[in-house]
């Protein structure tokens, strides 16, 4: 069944946007949404139309406890966090991690330090240390860093940064694969945005996906890989996937 046939896609997209798509069909469509830009656009168009119907809904002010709860859930570190050693400890750990080549560590450092600058220059509280994350740095055939991918340990989102433009041949997508350490079959993770970067949704939490993964790789595939698919084209980028904690 081809979900991406335009008429069928539009029918599913509008039922999804309205909410009448339910149960298994809704979950299947959500999986498709994470992998298919076409599906995302089709849904977006309907959501924009339907959102206009929300204007007439009477507002209801939330109680103060909602914001307080948000603040404490998001910004109050658990007690254990304050017992951790210096926030610079991860730097030392990273520097001494011999498993990482020096080039790899160098790029990690500069990218991570830049990304975390607000926390490191004191604009945010000291407890905002680097969260437990999985990080992958993919190199091109010439050994140059090309893509940085990172995700919080229990997150369901992968932050992708293209360190150099990725020339994706027309009619293909840059499919990211995870390669288990035990030599098991590569499985699809996400389609990379063609430029700049951004956040892409993951099919599961990072912990579930990456805990047994040693490497990440990218191939140019004719279409986003479905769950269970295997690479059909050679890897153009690849690199280590490491735990950052």
């Amino acid at each position: 069944m081809n979900y991406l046939q335009p008429e069928r896609l539009d029918r599913l997209a509008r039922e999804y946007a309205l909410g009448t798509l339910a149960g298994g069909a809704r979950r299947r469509f959500e999986r498709l949404l994470r992998q298919s830009p076409a599906a995302m656009v089709a849904v977006g168009v309907w959501q924009e139309r339907l959102a206009k119907l929300a204007d007439s809904v009477p507002p209801l002010a939330p109680r103060a406890s909602v914001w307080q709860g948000l603040e404490s859930r998001l910004f109050t570190a658990p007690a254990a966090a304050s017992a951790r050693p210096s926030p610079w400890r991860w730097l030392a750990d990273l520097l001494s991690a011999r498993t990482l080549g020096s080039a790899l560590a160098g790029v990690f450092l500069c990218v991570l330090v830049l990304r975390l600058q607000p926390g490191l220059v004191g604009l945010e509280p000291q407890r905002e240390t680097l969260p437990a994350s999985y990080v992958g740095l993919l190199l091109d055939a010439g050994g140059q860093p090309a893509v940085l991918a990172s995700s919080r340990r229990h997150g369901r989102q992968l932050t992708v940064k293209l360190l150099r433009p990725l020339v994706v041949p027309s009619g293909t997508v840059a499919q990211l694969w995870a390669l288990p350490r035990d030599g098991g079959a590569a499985f699809p993770v996400a389609v990379l945005p063609p430029q700049g970067g951004g956040a892409v949704a993951l099919p599961d939490t990072s912990e579930k996906l990456f805990s047994a993964v040693g490497r990440l790789a990218v191939s140019f595939e004719p279409a986003p890989a479905a769950p269970g698919a295997v690479p059909t084209a050679p890897f153009v980028l690849s690199g280590h996937c490491v735990k950052l904690w």
Binding site: A17, T20, L50, D55, V57, P59, L60, V66, W67, A199
Partner: protein
């Protein structure tokens, strides 16, 4: 959210993506009442609607980088997060409660909501969008089917039960309602907010 335009919100969300807490609070203050209203229409329970709102804003904080102004307006993006979470909560809660007796506070809240008339909300929106005449070409029951789906998060079978109409008919009503909405919005030249 009178003073906060979509452009303001888009700019604030970009700051939230950079972990700007003050911007996050501004987004919350500007939109929380409207968003809670949307969740409350669907869940009919203040407590659960507030839980959904909180979960939604957790999502906003973590995923603000995923907001793409070229795909959705900020308000649409926020409404979608809240509606999807409210719908998920509604449907998961429904199966949990299926075995319990419904004569509790919640049952009264649902009864009270029946008087809130999703259809009234729809008519009000259509008038505001100046597409009421165009949408009026649909029958009142057809518009009601659309209203129940959008404002209450009901699925086809529930709409059919609520309107006492056959399932196939309801599906056709909803489909035609959406087609008509698309046509009327386009004819009226209503585009992105």
């Amino acid at each position: 959210m009178a003073a906060t335009t979509n452009d303001d919100l888009a700019r604030l969300l970009a700051q939230v993506a950079l972990r700007d807490r003050a911007a996050f609070e501004q987004v919350y203050r500007a939109t929380c009442a409207h968003l809670l209203g949307v969740a409350f229409r669907i869940l009919n329970q203040r407590e659960r609607a507030e839980e959904v709102l909180q979960e939604s804003f957790m999502n906003v904080w973590h995923n603000a980088a995923g907001f793409n102004a070229s795909i959705a307006s900020p308000m649409t993006w926020l409404i979608n997060i809240v509606r999807n979470k409210a719908i998920d909560s509604l449907r998961s809660g429904r199966s949990e409660r299926a075995s319990t007796v419904a004569l509790d506070d919640e049952a009264f809240e649902v009864a009270a909501d029946a008087a809130q008339q999703p259809q009234q909300l729809l008519e009000e929106s259509l008038a505001r969008l100046k597409i009421d005449a165009c949408m009026g070409e649909l029958g009142a029951t057809q518009r009601q089917a659309l209203a129940l789906a959008y404002y209450r998060g009901l699925v086809h079978t529930e709409i059919a039960a609520s309107l006492g109409a056959p399932l196939g008919t309801v599906k056709a009503w909803v489909r035609r309602g959406l087609d008509k909405l698309k046509g009327c919005l386009e004819a009226a030249g209503v585009h992105a907010a």
